[in-house]
Symmetry: C3
Subunit: 189 residues, 3 copies
């Protein structure tokens, strides 16, 4: 079993998870992208964080599966930082498709959300990542909406809980606290 943390780009996942690590030093987060990139490297597939979305379908599916197989063995209930709906220029593809759900069996899916105008501001500031093609405020509403739909389908398939946490501007610490409390509470059930 596993615990998933997801959210649209700019919802503040990285910030909230960093705050969570400050509050609970023992917390360990497994970034799905890093595992996927590592797997690509092992297989000598040339790609990067921002171009991986353009890989051939079959290559992508097996990389994703192997990455989650790897994470699964890292701990009894790994905490996984990933996406529910992965944005690409060709549309959304599932971050936790059924074949992956079978591998990691989520017990809890935490979905970080934020006000679209906060997300927009954050994306504009983020010059290190190629996020300029992620669209305006209507597109962000769309992304958060689609994320909820993917969350529900994953939950109905696996009996995972879906916890939506709102990351308010300047309140990442509060969101991190809610995240940690939910994880602790779910681990105990």
């Amino acid at each position: 079993m596993s615990i998933i943390v997801a959210g649209a780009p700019g919802a503040g996942k990285t910030t909230v998870l960093n705050e969570a690590k400050k509050i609970d030093k023992k917390i360990r987060i497994h970034g799905a992208w890093e595992y996927i990139l590592d797997e690509a490297k092992k297989q000598k597939i040339k790609t990067s964080h921002d171009t991986i979305r353009k890989l051939p379908r079959e290559t992508w599916i097996q990389l994703q599966e192997r990455a989650f197989e790897e994470i699964k063995h890292k701990s009894e209930m790994p905490l996984i930082d990933t996406h529910l709906a992965i944005l690409s220029e060709n549309g959304y593809f599932p971050g936790l498709p059924e074949n992956v759900l079978k591998i990691i069996q989520p017990k809890l899916i935490i979905l970080l959300e934020a006000d679209p105008k906060d997300i927009l501001a954050r994306r504009k500031k983020d010059k290190t990542r190629q996020r300029s093609d992620f669209g305006g405020s209507t597109k962000i509403l769309e992304q958060q909406d689609i994320n909820r739909a993917y969350a529900a389908t994953c939950s109905n398939k696996t009996n995972a809980l879906v916890k939506i946490i709102v990351n308010r501007e300047g309140k990442a610490k509060e969101a991190a606290k809610e995240l940690i409390e939910t994880i602790k509470s779910v681990k105990n059930t």
Copy 2:
């Protein structure tokens, strides 16, 4: 096969179903919670309507399954009053997860919705149930949104119809009529 009636807390499910019983005296409604609580009692698990959401995961899953097994044998096409997304402090958990869908095979899922401000007013008045932690109007929009997503995933899995009925303030009788007509019409196909 079965017919499901669902809706976020405060959407007026109880009121509409009571109106339905006045219109059609032969109607029999099976409340999933009552069956789950009965099953808990049989197994000597101490719980209540408002604390059952805090049971250990495996206990909860088997209680839910057994309750729906029970309902399934009550009639050829039982009418079941339940939730699609069950609110708990740890997030939503599925009211009709895949393991339950296999048992009851819904032919029709009726989703009752209401204006968030009506729901909010109703929840404030309801002092008999611990609904104070169910959140404000943004949370209600979220709950109704998540309900739709769960409905779609259940429908796509089982070929069930999804009928959204809006319960307008002071118009529970009209909603009840629409509910009865839909049920009759679907039963005949």
Copy 3:
């Protein structure tokens, strides 16, 4: 494998697909409804585009399956014009339920959306089809919302991409270009 084009009634699917055919003369679109009606005719079931939604459930399910079996053999990756959520007076039923997904295995689901007020205006103009019972602007928001939820569940099941294309009033040609580019790009992965 296949490519799906879907959208709520009035989102402009027919117009956009006609524009697409002007841009790329080699494009061939398989309308699921036509195949379903053909299949009904073969089986001597009396129905029409607007009354087919009222067929008995089992009849409908087998007609739908056979139609998609037929389409599947038309080309290596047929482009299918269909619905994700089919409106009927008894609610939505799935246009791509799991049994159909297994047959056609979508690689890409294109979801055409439009501003509810544009959709409303188009529906009012369309006197050739019985669309008067499809509801006002709130209902259109509901339909587009439900479509997204069905798209997500289909995608999570099959690893299909979900591409949402907005068909702006008077900009069907632009939407058609985006559609063709997405299809080309996905075919190459």
